[in-house]
Every structure is written in C-alpha cells, then in structure tokens.
C-alpha cells in the first residue's frame, strides 16, 4: 500500500510525518536539528530516500544536511555558498545600494533525474547547483549577472530566491522567482536568464509595470503542462500559458488576493489552491477564518474550503513554501501554519484535519508519495 511522507521545516527544527494511503493516522518524528531554523526539506524525485535539508542559524550560519535513508539518519555536507566574482550591490529597503551578502538557503530543489544534482535558492538572491550530492556548490551566476541585479530589493523576509521549478519535458528549462525581483527563466540549463514579468503590476514600484522589482511570493506548475505557470504575487494571483512570456490575473472572486502559497492538484492541471491572507500589513486570514480557496477552472472562480479548518479566532499565516500535494489517486493537500499546525486533506480539499497541532512555526512542507 502506498504511503505519504511529509517533510516539514520549522523555526526550531525539522519534522517528518508519515501515514499510509488512508492518511488518517500520522506518525510524527523529530525534531531533527532542534533549535535551528530549517527553511526547507525536500526529497529527490529520482531517489525518494535521498533528502536534503537547509539548516540555518543566526549564530552559526548555514548547514546543508543530507539523508540517504529517508530521513532516519543525516550528515552535514557542503555549506560554502560563494558568489561568483565580486557580487556588487542591490537596492536596500530605502533604495540605496547595498552589498550582496549570503545569508541562508531558502529553497532546495533536487534534480528530477539525478539524486546527486540539486539546486539551492539563497538569500541574498542567487541560484546555486551541486552535482556531487551537496558537497560542493557553484553559483549559476548568469542570473545575478543578468544586468538587473542592482534594481532588485529585499521583501520583508529578505531578498530571497524561493521558487525553483524544473521543466520535466525540457532539461534545459528552469524557472525561478525572487522576492522582490520577479520571475526569471533559463532555456540553457541555468547559464543565461530572461526576466518573465510582463503583465505583472505592482503599485509598490515607481513603474508598476517594470521589467523587474515585483515581489513574487511563489510559483507553481503542473508536471503535465510545464508551459502553464501559476503565481501568488505580493498582491494578485497570476497565470501564464506561455512559459512566463506574459501573465494575466486570475484572482477573480477571492476575498483578498494577497497570500504566499499556491499549488496545483496532482491530477487536475486546472485545479489550484491558495490561502488568502488579509493584507501585507495583516498577515492572517480574513475575519479570523482559515480558508483554503480552490478553483477547478484554472482561476477566477474560487470556492472556499472550510470543513475541518478553524472558522473563528484564527490569526496564523501560511508561508510561501508551506503548501504541498501528494499524488495518490485522491489527491492529498497539506499546509503548515506559523501557529505550528499541519493541516491535511485526503480528498482534494473537501475535508481537513490537523495532522499535528503544536509544532514551532512552520516554514515549509513537502510531500513524498512512496510505494
């Protein structure tokens, strides 16, 4: 019988939740790396027992952990993330130039085909790749040297590269997103990059339609349709049907189009999930009601999903890497909150329950569907 493994990163360590295909009873293991911030934990599609974790600390810096046995044991691998050449400056919050400084790894994206190849999106924004299982890291510096880097600026969480999507039909195509620079695409394996932000509109910019500077919060893609991308921007939920060449808004009837997460049903490429958050100042659900919104038509027409979710006095946030889906026949949907709850739905969002309630603030959730 299939089973599901959830890899959870929190402010104070990592946790692994496992359940059989019924997804009713969950075992919780952890904390791993207790006391450290774990921004992201993700397994290799080519070998699900190979898992990478980004462990960081204001005191001790960055560590990358690797497991070769499905998270039962871990060992530290390489933690040197050196920018290629002199990295120069980006904009600080006040618009003045500020030197590029490595702070942490936000997102880990293992290759679709090789367990030893893995990408790391970091703050200050850059993309690194390892081809030796995480022992050494090289910057794909064509992104940072695209020419627009001096115009990039940090969002409230820092200037992070938080989304990495690998095209399953084209090994040379990579999509990434940076807060606050925007989305970029490479068609040559990461050597050169193109900003793909046409159609985005951000009132926080001097030119709201600028080529770069947009605060993209997260990108999502369905494996069967890699030219269709979905985006939760600072404000606005967006869609592209031409690999990012242009975007149009699909916020439709959402109660607010601010939010962080966005994800796609495992088997229905037009079924999307978001968690609307009231505003950029009020990082909690509207009216204290935690609601996932689902569209089954690719956007605009959204329905609230509430069964099993708190509908009063709920003031948590759901951060950008904290939603995921499994690929069982009845698609499971999961998300974690800054209040430490992991909510799961085994029926594509119809019903929800808290799989665990009192973890540290959740930074990321990734699902692995195992045989």
């Amino acid at each position: 019988m299939s089973k599901v493994r959830l890899l959870v990163g929190t402010r104070k360590g990592a946790f692994i939740l496992t359940a059989d295909g019924a997804r009713k009873d969950w075992a919780v293991a952890g904390p791993f790396f207790a006391g450290w911030e774990v921004f992201h934990v993700k397994g290799s599609p080519a070998d699900p027992d190979r898992i990478y974790a980004s462990q960081s600390s204001s005191w001790f810096g960055q560590v990358i952990q690797r497991s070769d046995d499905g998270g039962q044991s871990w060992h530290a691998v390489g933690n040197q993330f050196l920018y290629d050449g002199v990295p120069g400056t980006h904009q600080w919050y006040d618009g003045t130039p500020h030197p590029w400084e490595f702070k942490r790894v936000w997102h880990i994206e293992p290759s679709l085909t090789s367990p030893d190849t893995v990408y790391a999106g970091v703050e200050d924004a850059a993309l690194f790749r390892s081809t030796d299982g995480g022992h050494s890291w090289q910057e794909l510096s064509g992104l940072r040297k695209h020419g627009s880097g001096p115009a990039w600026q940090p969002g409230a969480g820092g200037m992070c590269l938080h989304s990495v999507l690998l095209d399953p039909t084209n090994s040379q195509r990579i999509f990434i997103a940076i807060s606050a620079a925007g989305a970029f695409r490479s068609d040559d394996g990461g050597e050169s990059w193109l900003p793909i932000n046409r159609g985005l509109h951000s009132a926080q910019l001097p030119d709201p339609d600028a080529e770069v500077g947009h605060c993209v919060h997260h990108l999502a893609m369905h494996r069967a349709r890699p030219n269709t991308l979905f985006m939760q921007k600072h404000w606005d939920v967006m869609r592209s049907d031409n690999a990012g060449d242009s975007w149009h808004e699909i916020s439709g009837n959402l109660p607010t189009d601010f939010g962080f997460v966005i994800d796609v049903h495992a088997h229905e490429p037009e079924t999307l999930y978001v968690v609307p958050i009231k505003s950029d100042a009020e990082h909690f659900p509207v009216d204290g009601q935690l609601r996932v919104y689902r569209t089954r038509s690719g956007g605009n027409d959204w329905q609230p999903l509430t069964r099993g979710l708190p509908q009063s006095n709920c003031y948590v946030n759901v951060l950008r890497d904290a939603m995921t889906v499994d690929s069982l026949d009845s698609c499971g949907v999961y998300f974690g909150t800054t209040g430490g709850q992991i909510y799961g739905s085994p029926d594509a969002g119809e019903t929800w329950s808290a799989l665990v309630r009192d973890l540290p603030a959740v930074l990321s959730v990734e699902a692995q569907t195992l045989p």
């Binding site: 790396f33 207790a34 006391g35 450290w36 600390s57 204001s58 005191w59 001790f60 810096g61 960055q62 560590v63 060992h75 530290a76 933690n79 040197q80 050196l82």
Partner: protein, 101 residues
C-alpha cells in the same frame, strides 16, 4: 609539540558535531585561536563555517570566545592563548550571543 586544549561548544554546535559539551582538541605548534580552530575543524569538518566564516576566517558576529574569565573575542587570531588554556586547566569557551530566538 602538541597540547591538549579543552573546548566548550554551544549546544547547537554540540548537536551538529555529535559531541558532548566539552571536547579535547590536540593542537600542534603554537596554540593560538587560529591553530585551535583549525584543529577543531579538522576533527569535526561539519563545524567549518559555523564558528568562523569559511572564507574570511572572521569570527561569526553572534559568537564570542571566553577563557579565564576574559573575553578573547577581539584578540588577534595568532596571539598565543592564555597559559591555563594551553595547559588544560581552563576551558576555551565558544559562546552564542544572548540574542533571543
């Protein structure tokens, strides 16, 4: 000449290195902050970059070095360590700043 120096690590690094609070590090030649930390990192490679920046070799800003009730954080890296540290009667203590969290 090799000396055995007792080093106390903060709990976050003990867990990372899989060691108890105190470790003994054998240092060859002059015992300085640099030679001590080089030897510590050689014994425990997972600590590289967590106490000193891996490139600049500067102490990470939220860490301090104490010994003999003195703050050695701002001593030059090649300055000799205090005698009680070198002869093993006092600990070289790596301390995380009191910075909340």
């Amino acid at each position: 000449m090799t000396v055995a120096i007792r080093v106390e690590l903060p709990s976050g690094l003990c867990a990372l290195a899989g060691v108890a609070r105190e470790v003994v590090v054998h240092v060859r030649g002059p015992a300085t902050q640099r030679s001590l930390l080089d030897a510590l990192e050689a014994d425990f490679p997972m600590l590289r970059g967590t106490i000193r920046d891996a490139v600049s070799q500067r102490r990470r800003p939220f860490l301090r070095f104490f010994a003999c009730e003195q703050d050695l954080s701002h001593c030059a890296p090649d300055e000799p360590l205090p005698k009680p540290v070198v002869d093993g009667t006092e600990l070289f203590i790596v301390v995380g700043a009191i910075a909340g969290g």
